[in-house]
């Protein structure tokens, strides 16, 4: 009896900072999850290799395989011009990231307030919702000619296109976020003597936040793929431009490098949005954690 109580010291407070990270790492290494991920990636790379380089299946033999792509990517003297040792590679990434930052910033800055007001005020919704719903299904590529006519230069049309798609997603999700707030919170706030502005600040905004961040994660993905579409049509730099330019010049390795880089950078931005959301919504994260999620 006394042995059992002295044997295992019980942790009474949650670890913080770096020790929390180590604790989570240790715990996750005991589950199959990280191994499954590694296996999944390996399987995918192997299939790619098998199709393009191993078996050289008909038509796939024109596509660069993983060995060709990664040896080029890490080569000091890349055969087709793009590797991690070339400044142009980083220039393409930087230019695309800058455009995303601006487009996503505008889309969030306009979309979130617009969505909040549309969700909160029936009148604003009546004005704006039909227009939003009509514009939303129009594909980004259909906007290309108009955007080139409307905006001067290369930069503005590209950013406009990337902003547009992302704006619709953010606005709609934010509006649905306000809709999702339980009526009881509005009533409670009313009972407690809130002004409309108090309700907006203390109920509408925080209540919609989980939906807003779900929307922002989708919206940053949408921003990336509409940016690339825009860069393919107009532009002189950027990852989308790199992909289409390589294809035009018949150099397929940089094209694949561009695609992989795009995927990777897009993933990182999405993780950053998620982390920001979790940081802003401690209450939400804690409640979910207690449910074991």
């Amino acid at each position: 009896m006394s042995q059992a109580t002295t044997a295992a010291p019980q942790r009474t407070t949650a670890p913080t900072g770096f020790s929390m990270f180590i604790y989570r790492l240790k715990k996750s290494l005991l589950t199959p999850d990280p191994y499954l991920t590694v296996f999944g990636v390996a399987l995918w790379l192997f299939t790619w290799w098998l199709l393009c380089e191993g078996l050289r299946v008909d038509r796939f033999d024109k596509i660069p395989g993983p060995v060709a792509v990664f040896s080029e990517l890490f080569s000091r003297t890349p055969f087709q011009g793009i590797s991690i040792f070339k400044s142009e590679y980083y220039e393409h990434i930087l230019v695309s990231c800058q455009r995303i930052l601006i487009a996503f910033g505008i889309a969030t800055g306009v979309g979130v307030p617009l969505g909040l007001f549309m969700g909160w005020s029936k009148r604003i919704r009546d004005y704006a919702f039909p227009i939003l719903e009509m514009l939303r299904p129009i594909p980004i590529l259909a906007w290309v000619p108009l955007s080139i006519l409307m905006f001067p230069g290369f930069e503005a049309p590209v950013i406009f296109l990337a902003t547009l798609a992302s704006l619709f997603v953010t606005t709609l999700n934010t509006m649905l976020g306000v809709d999702s707030i339980d009526e009881a919170y509005f009533r409670a706030a009313g009972c407690l003597g809130s002004s409309n502005w108090d309700i907006f600040k203390n109920v509408v905004v925080p209540g919609a936040l989980p939906f807003i961040f779900t929307g922002l994660q989708i919206s940053i993905g949408v921003a990336w793929f509409s940016l690339v579409a825009a860069e393919m049509v107009s532009g002189d730099l950027g990852l989308g431009y790199l992909i289409v330019d390589s294809y035009m010049n018949n150099v397929t390795v940089p094209m694949v490098i561009g695609m992989i880089t795009l995927g990777f950078v897009g993933w990182i931005t999405s993780v950053m949005v998620r982390m920001l959301g979790n940081w802003l919504m401690q209450w939400h994260v804690k409640a979910l954690a207690l449910q074991g999620r």
Binding site: D182, R187, A188, C191, L290
Partner: protein
Amino acid sequence: MPNLNTRGALSIRNVTKIYDPEGVNVMAVKDCSMEIAAGEVCMIVGPSGCGKTTLLNAIAGFHSITSGEILLDGELLCGPGKPKADQGAERMVVFQHGALFPWKTLAQNVAYGPRVQGRSSKAEAMEKARDMLAEAGLGNVTEKYPGEVSSGMSRRAEIVRALINDPKVLLLDEPYRAMDALTKSIMHESLLETYDRTKVTIFFIIHDLEEAIFLGDKVHIVTTRPCQLKKTVEVNIPRPRSYQTQSSEEFRHLMEEVNEAVHEEAIKAFQAGERELA
């Protein structure tokens, strides 16, 4: 026991409420009158979906009434020419499913009322909130979010959030319905203790008859839809009451009386089989 409280007398006079969902008139409350004295614990018992919550919503100012009038301490809340009462902190609602803001800590939730009403600064409100939470036995969870504490604790915090505003009337819409019997009995004891301290008027919608008699000064039994006062049973068991009260002869007698009246309505409600109104 004499009750010295002079505020929080509610008069519900000939109130009728007709809902109009999808073009069909539904009479939720019909010519319903009730007098609730200042500082009285008044329990409302009736079949599910009979319109009790409609009545509460009218008092709180969430819904309008079709005719009749409701007065608080002689002042008109709603009536002819003013179908919907203003919402205000003198009538605090404790909701059926709980409505603490999940994005605020318990202390922030409690401090919210005084802060938005401009009655005290943020720091003062937070300090008072922490004190009141500690008084209610929640001193060590003041900085936790509602999602992190038990449902019993969060309900208790919700009552504290109501009381910090010094309300005249506390309107409770079956706030303990989903709780297990043990937690519920603790919640009831703490509510009674709160009442003994504040003597606030309590308007309490409840389903459990035993609990209604245990808690109340009066038990108002209402009819099935449309909601009307059917019978009022006075509970003259002295306070403070404890759980031994429930086994007394007097208690059983009252229980029979209430049960008979409610049962009749329950059967009618079941046979009508109407869908509950929100």
